[in-house]
Amino acid sequence: MSLKDVMKDIEGYQEIVREIDVLNKYGTDYTAQKGQARQVLDLIHPKKLDLKVSEIIEETASTKTLRLVPANGCLPPFQAGQYLNLVVSAGGIVTSRDYSISSPPNQTAYYDITVRRIDDGFVSDFLLDTVGVGDAFETSAPAGNFFHNPLIHGDDLVFLAGGSGVTPFMSMIREAADRGTNRKIHLIYGSRSTDDVIFSDEIAAICARHPRIAWTLVVSEPPAGYAGRTGFITAGLMHDVLGGSLEGKTFFLCGPEAMYAFCRDELRKMGIPGRRIRVEMYGPPRDVSAQPGWPAGKNRDAVVKVALTDGRSIEAHAGEPLMNSLERAGIVIPALCRSGECSLCRTKLLKGEVFQPEGVKLRKSDIQFGYIHPCMAYPLSDLEIMLL
């Protein structure tokens, strides 16, 4: 006897059949919902964005802001502090880089990204020297976990910025100022010199207008006779500048690699619990062989062979993220954070050995089954990988 025959004898069967008959007449016509789920998502979490440069703003001698507007449609919401992954095609190579959005989320017409020239930065050179108004880019939707979370971060915030690391804070400060939030913010902004301080005029103006927002500039290589704060962002300086109790304050940290280890130690000295410290990721280290855990005797300039399961084979340098070597060979894999965190580039390692610095966020079972994050995986031997 089949299920269909059996069920006719179950108490209540006839009533249910009648209910279904009625609903078949008056129920939902799903044909009207074609494409609807995607439409909802496109407004909040689009798969990618097509943007174009509407304006280029000279911030300092080394820095420009690219104002990006949608080529079509509108921009999804974001949380101040989040970034875009910008796909660039420069020097014959398709790659991508992450830039924090410096405009506030309440500004819905455009996203600003603020780019500073870095040594040997072929992407920053390209963005600063080649890109012009009207140029088009594909980017990710806003992403990242470096933002103020009202559930646990409270309203008493300290932003520790180093150099161009000020960009996500600019978004947060502009938002707090524009929306008149209750947040008390103190920006401690480390800069090498006094003449290349991004957003200094605007920050000063906001602080003058908003009693709950303050800033302190700390210059590491001050000109002779400079009267302001100098040196680095030390525990002593923070105690001095912030005054009083540190209870209830949440510290946000974004800046160059060297600043991270330094400031984290300083915060630890001050007894700030880990849950009160939010740190933005910073991408691949300048010199991976200086990272803790790099195997002794391994040469970062070593060249290895990487075989793909589809038969292709490329050369890679031990001291460079595997993703970059793949891109140089014309093999573009999904990328987002380029810091080992988001797992979008997750790839299966079949043979060989890689180094993944501390802080690369691998799932336990991904380690068990041999997955790596090529954006922060450095090949220590010849490899065989499966791109999935």
């Binding site: 279904i20 078949n24 007449k25 016509d29 799903y30 919902q33 949380q79 336990k364 079972s365």
Partner: protein, 497 residues
């Protein structure tokens, strides 16, 4: 154009077991998944020091190695048990109404009955009788229905024929007076999706019976470990998988499947597709109207989109004991009005019942030493979220999350001060990662009219099969099982042709 014996669309639970079953039978299979990790709901994500379990709270149907349940038998068959480490939970759940009521039920019949009798002395006699019914009914359902007794009849299995479609609430009302006792016994509804008033006793009884008899389980590494193990075995059997690459179109000719076009534009030939996408996504977006036989979608008119969920994932900088969390599975309730709670699922109001799971209680290795994590979930429909303007989405998300966090704080007052990482998933988040309309986590609503007995048949595309909660029950065991069953149907049809 490469050819495959079958293309599986979606690497959720059903897609994974389906793909693996086919590959193990020596078939050439392509598995497409638009996300970058396998699992669908059965996945995890990392924030700071924590790897958060997304969806698995209590795995049903496992049983012990000595007394295996149906799911363990399937995972054994699929050859992945040696890669996984399952952790049993000794207790079913705790129901905690802060300041008013607190009870923890063992996953063991006598123990549960005794605890209930102690707490509800006025219902002392009715409690064991109710458990008799629960067990006798379940045994009849198993023998008559699951084991396909050819002599199945009303006379031979009277309880089954009397109660299978009966509303759970009505059965509870027949036995008990205390609304709190009824709420405690039926509290699983808040996690499976239909309130006692409408949940068929057949579904309810077999669920409670099997959680008690086979015990709830979790596994080391969480549900992602299960998904990874299934994929790993699929690849080892010669299966091909593409991630960050969904299906764009299912091709048909004369009412038969002929191939699939991937999101990247590659066309592959196949005569069989196993879709782990929703039936709606499959018929509406992966096919054109002229490819879908008349009557196919009409058969779903009586269905309504099921609930999604709102989940708070919390990583704490201390151990569960410091927070006062002593059980893995905690239903935090502030009401015994289940109908009202269900009505709140369609609103942005703070809800009366939520499930807090702290995995570290039963598996101290789940989070790093000195820490623990908890997921607090309440089901919610996507409807109110569709009305939130995109610009207010994050504000709405935090406002709702704040209400949930307050509920958690009522039960465990110190939690907020120990949260190191927190992430919230809304129905929109579920829509984003699952692609299911309404962000539905269990497919369509599962009223009695929607149970397996009444699944639409009718005109279907030849060679198109489904797996997952849209064509059966929701949850881990049912979806893992459905992929396996559909794959077997495919293998049978291949053997014939």
């Amino acid at each position: 154009m490469a050819g495959y014996d079958a293309v599986v669309i979606g690497a959720g639970n059903g897609g994974l077991t389906g793909a693996l079953t086919l590959a193990k039978a020596g078939r050439k299979v392509l598995l497409l998944e638009r996300h970058n990790v396998p699992g669908g709901c059965a996945t995890s994500f990392v924030r700071g020091r924590f790897e958060f379990e997304v969806a698995l709270h209590q795995l049903s149907g496992m049983g012990s190695a000595e007394r295996p349940g149906p799911l363990r038998a399937i995972l054994n068959d699929l050859g992945i048990m040696d890669k996984l480490d399952f952790v049993p939970m000794e207790n079913l759940y705790r129901v905690y109404w802060p300041g008013r009521f607190d009870i923890t039920l063992k996953a063991e019949r006598e123990g549960a009955v005794r605890t209930l009798q102690e707490r509800f002395p006025r219902e002392k006699d009715a409690i064991p009788k109710f458990f008799d019914l629960l067990y006798d009914f379940s045994m009849q359902m198993i023998q008559g229905l699951f084991f396909r007794d050819p002599q199945i009849s009303k006379e031979k299995y009277p309880l089954y024929f009397k109660y299978a479609f009966a509303p759970t609430q009505k059965v509870l009302d027949d036995f008990f007076k205390d609304p709190l006792l009824k709420a405690v016994l039926s509290i699983y509804w808040s996690y499976t999706g239909v309130p006692p008033r409408w949940m068929p006793f057949g579904d309810f009884a077999i669920m409670l019976f099997s959680y008690i008899e086979f015990k709830p389980y979790h596994l080391k590494g969480g549900s992602q470990a299960l998904s990874n193990a299934l994929l790993n075995e699929f690849l080892a059997c010669g299966g091909e998988a593409r991630f960050s690459c969904g299906a764009r179109k299912i091709m048909t000719a004369n009412g038969r499947v002929t191939g699939v076009v991937t999101e990247h534009g590659d066309a592959v030939e196949t005569s069989r597709v196993l879709s782990n996408a929703s039936v709606l996504e499959t018929y509406l977006n992966l096919m054109d109207p002229d490819q879908v036989p008349a009557g196919t979608l009409e058969a779903y008119r009586s269905r309504t989109l099921g609930p999604s969920a709102f989940t708070l994932y919390m990583g704490f900088d201390c151990e569960p004991g410091e927070l006062g969390i002593s059980e893995t599975t905690n239903f935090i309730t502030t009401t015994d009005d289940m109908d009202k709670t269900f009505a709140q699922w369609k609103t942005m109001e703070r809800q009366g019942v939520g499930l807090l799971t702290c995995y570290d209680v039963s598996d101290p290795d789940f989070s790093p030493p000195g820490t623990c994590q908890a997921a607090f979930v309440n089901l919610q429909y996507a409807d109110p979220w569709h009305l939130v303007p995109p610009g207010q989405y994050y504000d709405a998300k935090y406002r709702y999350a704040e209400g949930m966090l307050k509920t958690v704080e009522e039960a465990f007052p110190d939690v907020r001060g120990h949260i190191e990482e927190i992430e919230a998933a809304t129905p929109i988040t579920h829509l984003r990662y699952l692609g299911h309309p309404g962000g539905a986590i269990y497919g369509f609503d599962k009223y009695t009219k929607d149970t397996a007995y009444f699944l639409p048949t009718g005109a279907l595309v030849q060679g198109l099969y489904f797996a997952g909660s849209w064509v059966g029950s929701g949850g881990f065991q049912p979806t893992l099982t459905s992929g396996r069953s559909s794959a077997r149907t495919i293998l049978k049809s291949m053997a014939k042709s």
